[in-house]
Symmetry: C2
Subunit: 182 residues, 2 copies
Amino acid sequence: MAIEKKSDCVILGLLSHEDLTGYEIKKRMDTALKYFWGASYGSIYPALGDLVKRGLASKRDGAENNRNKIIYSITEDGRNYLKGWLANPVEKDELRYETLLKLFFGHEAGVEQTLAHIEAFEEKISKELPFLIGATEVLKKGISEDDTHKYYLLTAEFGVKTYQAYLEWCREAKAILKEERG
Amino acid sequence: MAIEKKSDCVILGLLSHEDLTGYEIKKRMDTALKYFWGASYGSIYPALGDLVKRGLASKRDGAENNRNKIIYSITEDGRNYLKGWLANPVEKDELRYETLLKLFFGHEAGVEQTLAHIEAFEEKISKELPFLIGATEVLKKGISEDDTHKYYLLTAEFGVKTYQAYLEWCREAKAILKEERG
DNA sequence: GGAATAATATATCACTCTGATACATTTGTC
DNA sequence: GACAAATGTATCAGAGTGATATATTATTCC
């Protein structure tokens, strides 16, 4: 039983919604998926070529003017492959926060530097949270028109809930660090 | 200005607390750090060799009986390297949750399968949360004895706060999905 | 006492993915 | 009309994973 390569699965997932170019796939990664997944050009373009070779996607020329443009579609086999992967249990959920790593070694850096890392994290999250909240509101309105919106909403709500928890933690963490300061 | 390799930094961070073997480093990764970082043998052993070559760590023979055992220590240069990295701003905090990826493409899989993924996630988190809570309690007690405990506590509290948010989200997500079912 | 299993310990390798870069054109802005 | 930003495809060195190989010691169970 072949274990699915993640980059294949995300790309097929995106192609299951609409035909896309490699560039557009990258844009989806950096917007809709960015809060829980990522992929670089270095994985997208080779994967696309490979998917076509294996008959899971097809490509057609979408050139306009002088711009070369290759539009990819999912095939019947590709859709079955995607469904097979979706039916399997999740293998790994991974969090890799450099902020927490630096905090863990905070004894070496001292209270001031550690506080600065927390504050930078807090600012980043505070700036992004409104976009996530905005996304959930848009999705909630469109939920009856398009069934996919319901599933997008699940992931956006996850973002909102966790980001709110992060901000709560920031306040608590700063308090813990400041407790014994002069 | 050399950009630090993450595997070097984690290892030096762990060695800044105590001398360790490669095997022990891996164990720390799988216990204390597992909620926000990870590393495999395939990155640890080569990195250790490299750190010694660059003078950031030193090794000594710690063989007992017939077991070969190499104990690594951080050097003065290594500690400075670590401090330099800690002083720099965080480059990337990354979340990579296959569960959310499968949810995002849930339209293709259907409500039942998507619910199953959420329930599996909920169970996994429910099982791990007590350990995190236990860790915070132990750390809180020892906070006055050992300064490092304060920093460990920050990361453990992060785990507790986010895991509780995950469980809240699970309840909400299941409700959203069940709304329109027969 | 002896067998089986788990834990300790080091190390490598194929494969995947990232981050950077190269290149070329088109669209938008001032 | 100049300049910057966006669109588009593609590759490559380096980093990291997951699996595997190998060997010894400690523990458990009968």
